[in-house]
Symmetry: C3
Subunit: 341 residues, 3 copies
C-alpha cells in the first residue's frame, strides 16, 4: 500500500536500529505481506507459519530474525522481534493523523466549554458545559461530549464517540466509533417490588496511551471513578462496568465483559468473549483464554481457561448429557472403588 513517505533500506535500518543485509539503496515507500508486497515495499516474517512464503516474495526488503535471514538472498533487516519492528516501520510510512486545528462550523460547542486553538473538532459534533479539549486533540465527526469531560493532548476520538459526563482522558488516548464512556453504571436496588436507581456519581478516568475499540462501553463509577491506567488496550464491543479498575498495559480482545468493581492487574491479557465477575481481583500477568469465565479472584500469574471447543453436535450432545449426570457418575466410581477394597 502506498504511503506518503519513502525511505531507503539503509535509512530504515538506521531509524529502527537494525542490522541491514543486502542493498542499502533500495527505495521503500510502504509495507505489505510477504505474499503481496512489491519491490518498493517492506514485508516481515514473524511466524514460522509463513516461512514458506519467504522464498517467493517480491518484497523490496524483509524484516526477519537472524536465523531466517541466513538463507535469504534478498535485502533483509534483522530484528529480534520482527513484528514489533514491522509495527514501528509501518508507523514511519503511515504516521498518525495530525490535528487540523479549528472547529467545524456545524459543531455545537457550549459557551462554557474550552477547546484549545490547536485542537480539531469535526462536523456535527457537540461539546457540553465545562468540558475541555487540549492541544493536538482530534474530536472527529458526530461525537457527543457531555459535561465536565476532558480530552487530553493529542487524543483522537475517531468519529461518533460519546463521553457522557465526568470522563477524563489522558494524553494520546484513541477511541473508535460508537464507544460510550461515562454512561450511568447499572446500579439498582429493589424497593417494595420495584427497582430504584442508585445515582451514579463517579466518573471515568482513562490513562495516557489507552485505546478503546468500536462500540465498547465503559460506565462511570457509582461513588468513586471507573479507572483505566495507562496503555490499556480494549478491542470492540467490550463492556466495562462501574468501578472497574484495569491495570496498565492490560489488553482485552473483542466481546469481553467485566462486571462491576472487578480489579484487573497490569500486563494481563483477556482473549475474546472472556467474562469476569464483579468484586474480585486478578493479579498482574494473568492470561485468560477465549470464552472463559473468571468467577473468583486469581492471585497467581499464569494462563487460565474454561472454554470448550466444538465437536460434532451428535457427539457433543452425548458428552453434555453425561456432564449433567457427572456427580452421579463420580459417586458410582467411588462405590466401585469401595467394593474392590
Amino acid at each position: 500500500m502506498d504511503a506518503k513517505h519513502a525511505l531507503t533500506a539503509a535509512e530504515l535500518a538506521q531509524r529502527l536500529g537494525l542490522e541491514l543485509r543486502g542493498d542499502p539503496a533500495i527505495a521503500l515507500h510502504g509495507v505489505g505481506s510477504l505474499a503481496a508486497a512489491g519491490p518498493g515495499e517492506l514485508a516481515f516474517l514473524s511466524s514460522a507459519r509463513y516461512r514458506g512464503e519467504l522464498a517467493a516474495t517480491r518484497a523490496g526488503a524483509v524484516l526477519l530474525r537472524g536465523e531466517d535471514a541466513a538463507g535469504y538472498p534478498g535485502t533483509a533487516l534483522v530484528a529480534g522481534d520482527p513484528y514489533a519492528a514491522y509495527a514501528r516501520a509501518a508507523a514511519l510510512f503511515h504516521p498518525r493523523r495530525v490535528a487540523a486545528p479549528g472547529i467545524h462550523p456545524s459543531a455545537v460547542v457550549h459557551a462554557d466549554a474550552e477547546v484549545d486553538p490547536a485542537a480539531e473538532v469535526g462536523p456535527l459534533t457537540s461539546i457540553g458545559a465545562r468540558s475541555r479539549v487540549a492541544a493536538g486533540a482530534i474530536v472527529g465527526p458526530g461525537c457527543v461530549i457531555g459535561e465536565d469531560c476532558a480530552v487530553g493532548r493529542d487524543c483522537e476520538l475517531v468519529a461518533r464517540v460519546t463521553l457522557v459526563a465526568r470522563v477524563l482522558l489522558g494524553a494520546r488516548v484513541r477511541i473508535h466509533p460508537g464507544a460510550v464512556l461515562g454512561a450511568d453504571g447499572f446500579g439498582l436496588a429493589m424497593d417494595a417490588g420495584r427497582w430504584i436507581n442508585v445515582p451514579q456519581l463517579g466518573g471515568v478516568r482513562v490513562g495516557d496511551d489507552c485505546e478503546i475499540g468500536a462500540n465498547t462501553t465503559i460506565d462511570r463509577g457509582a461513588i468513586e471513578d471507573t479507572v483505566l491506567e495507562e496503555d490499556v488496550r480494549l478491542d470492540n464491543l467490550i463492556q466495562i462496568a462501574h468501578n472497574v479498575h484495569v491495570g496498565a498495559h492490560t489488553a482485552m480482545a473483542g466481546c469481553v465483559g467485566i462486571a462491576g468493581s472487578a480489579r484487573i492487574g497490569r500486563y494481563c491479557m483477556l482473549a475474546g468473549a472472556a467474562g469476569v465477575a464483579g468484586h474480585l481481583e486478578i493479579c498482574d500477568h494473568v492470561v485468560v483464554t477465549a470464552m472463559s469465565m473468571v468467577s473468583q479472584s486469581i492471585r497467581e500469574p499464569g494462563e487460565y481457561s474454561s472454554g470448550i471447543s466444538v465437536m460434532r453436535s451428535r457427539d457433543w450432545r452425548r458428552s453434555a448429557a453425561r456432564l449433567r449426570q457427572l456427580d452421579g457418575l463420580a459417586r458410582r466410581v467411588i462405590a466401585l472403588e469401595r467394593e474392590r477394597e
Copy 2:
C-alpha cells in the same frame, strides 16, 4: 461528592422514614463510600464485606441495619435495607435532571412531528415524521428518532439514542447512548440459494420506568411487537431479538442475548453474558447465572446455571479433553458395574 441540596440528618431520617440515632443537626450535602466520605456526607453499610470500614469512617452519618448500628458511636440512620435507603437518599441529593424546554436550533424536526413545548430536544438530533415527544421528556444530543415513534412523559434519551421506527416508549423511560430500538428484526428465508428478507412490520413497546443501557439493541417485531413490560432494566450491550416479550421488573446484566420470540417472565434476573434461545418461555422469578445458556423452557422459579469457572489452562485442557470422551467413560463405568454383578 458535592450536590446542590443540603439536608440535616433529622430531615433526611424524616424524608426516608428511618430511625435516627446520634446528632439530628448534622448537615449533609452528599453521599460517599465508608472509606472516602467526609463529615458532610452520608455513607452506607450494606454488605458484611465492608463492616471493617465502619469503625474508621469519617462520614457525617451512616445508613445501616439495626445490628450494625448497635456498636456504632456516630450518627446513624437505621434501615432494614440500607442499600435501597441509600439509593433513595442519593436521589434526594442528586435528583434526576429536569427538562430544559425547547428545541436546539441545530436539531432537525420533521414538519409532521409533534414535540411538546415542555420537552427538551438537544443539539444535532433529528426527529422523523409522525413521531411525538411528550412533556418533560429529554431527547439529548445526537439522537435519531425515525418515523411513527412516541417518547413518553419525562423520558430521558441521554444522547445518541436511535429509535428506528414504530417505537413507543412509556413514561420515565431512560435510554443510554448508542442504544438502538426498533431496527429490523433478523428475519430471513432461504429461497433458491439466496437469502430473502422477511419484512419486519411490528414495532417495539417499552413500558413505564424501563431503563436501557448503552449500545443495547432491541429489534422490532416481525408481525406483532417486541415488548418490554414496565420497570424492565437492561444493562449495556444486550441483544433483544424480534418478538421477545420481557416481563415487568426483570433485570439483565451486560452482554446478555435473547433470541427471537423468547418470552421471559416477571422479576427474573439474567446475569452477564447469559443467553436465551428463541421460541421458549421462562417463568417468573427465575435467576440465570453468568455465561449460562437457556435452551429449553423453564417452568419453575429458582436459580439456573451452566457457566464454568476457569482453572489453570494446563489442568483445564485435561478436563476438557476428558469431557469430549465422557460418553465413553460413562459406558466403561457401566461395564465395570455389570461385571461386578
Copy 3:
C-alpha cells in the same frame, strides 16, 4: 398491518407462482399472523407448532403446504416453502423504501466527495473526502462516512451508520444503526514493556446484498482487506475482526465474535454468541450452535456444538466441580479396569 398495495388472491398467486384454492377475488392489503390476521390479510403456516391456529384463523387467505391445505376450507395459496413465499408476499405489500433523491441541507458533504443526484443523504450526516454514494442509495440521518469509502447502488444505511475509511459496499447492502465498518483492527505489538500500534492499512469490502445488524463492528484489515462476499447476513452486536473473510450466503446471529484472519466458508450458519478463534478455516455448509467455540479449523460440513444448557444451580455446581476433577476420575476408571484384568 396495513400496507399501501392491495392485491387479489388471484393476483398474488400469479405474482408468486403458486396454486390458489378458494376465492380468487378476495382483496388482500397486508400480512398478519394466523392468530391476529383479519379478513383483508394474508397469513402463513410454516411450522407444525402453529397448526392448531389454522382452524380458528380469520385471515383472508393462508399460505401453506399441500398437506395442510387439504383440510382447510378457506382460501389457500399452496407453497412448497410457505415461509419463503410469505417473505416474498410481504415484500410485495411492503416494498423496500426508495431513495428520495437529494442531500438534506444539514448534511456536511466534503467538496471532494461524490454523491449521485439520484441518491438520498439524510439530515446531520457527514461524508468525507474521496467517498462516493451511488444512485438509488439511501444514507440515513446521523451517519458518518469517512474518507475513501464507496456506497453502492441502492444501498440503505438506515441511520447513524459509520464507515470509517476505505470501506467499499457493493449494491443493495443494508446496514442498521450503530454499525461501525472500517475501524482500525486490533493490531498491537509489545515493545519494551509498552504496546505499540500496528498501522491498519487495509479496508473492508462488502459484497452485493449483504445485511449488517445494529451495533455490529467490522474492522478494516491490517495489510489486505477484511471481506464479506455477497449475500452475507449479520445480526446485531457481532464482532468481525481484521482480515476475516466470510463466504457468500453465510448468516450469523446476534453476539457472534470472529477473531482476526479467520476464514469462514459459504452457506455457513453461526448461532447466537458463537465464537471463532483467529487464523483458522471453516469450510462451506458448517452450522455452529449457540454459545459454542470454534478453536480449530473445521474441514467437513455439518453441525458442531460445545454449548451447555442450564440446570438447577445446586445440581450444576456439583457437575461443574466434578468436571474440574474429570482427568482424575478418568484415571481412576482406568485403574479399576486394570485391576479387573
